[in-house]
Amino acid sequence: GQQVMQIPQYQHVQEGEDFTTYCNSSTTLSNIQWYKQRPGGHPVFLIQLVKSGEVKKQKRLTFQFGEAKKNSSLHITATQTTDVGTYFCAGQRYGGSQGNLIFGKGTKLSVKP
């Protein structure tokens, strides 16, 4: 069935280092969303990517959607302790139910001050 794989599962960085998480789908996606979940919290929407090759930036965060619309990445420049949390990608496949988002297992980021 439809799968969205995310790597790495965990990432430990020193404050100020960069961080990247990658998301790969077995099938073409119509769009992909990214969420952040702080420890003990609930997922919070970050961004939605729709177009092939799309790149969007939010301050230190850069999101990319692959040309084939099967992969995506989130890059954080110069991490801060406030970036700690688990980052999830969530994809919607073509032809699937409009409401059915497939979440990856997430990348848990820890930042050492």
Binding site: S30, Q48, G99, F103, K105
Partner: protein, 117 residues
Amino acid sequence: GAGVSQSPRYKVAKRGQDVALRCDPISGHVSLFWYQQALGQGPEFLTYFQNEAQLDKSGLPSDRFFAERPEGSVSTLKIQRTQQEDSAVYLCASSLTFSTSGIYEQYFGPGTRLTVT
């Protein structure tokens, strides 16, 4: 304004008991989603509604799970004859409506942590 609220926040049930989990979406949000999140995993889709219509229930794990949204606002997820494997956080999310390109951002509630003993 008020976000998505869920109640109860924590529920302990003995195996075999029935439970009902409530979700109050953001006022005016057309779409409502239920997810199950096991420890250390991503949310897994259970079902979703557009207004009162349940358009997809393909993620419900068994016929012991039932969801409703009779008036297109508050929703209830019911689990009958709970089993230990039902222990998880149940997240509810709502969104304003669907865009032509897919889904508007989903606003998640704090979740209900269900523990079945």
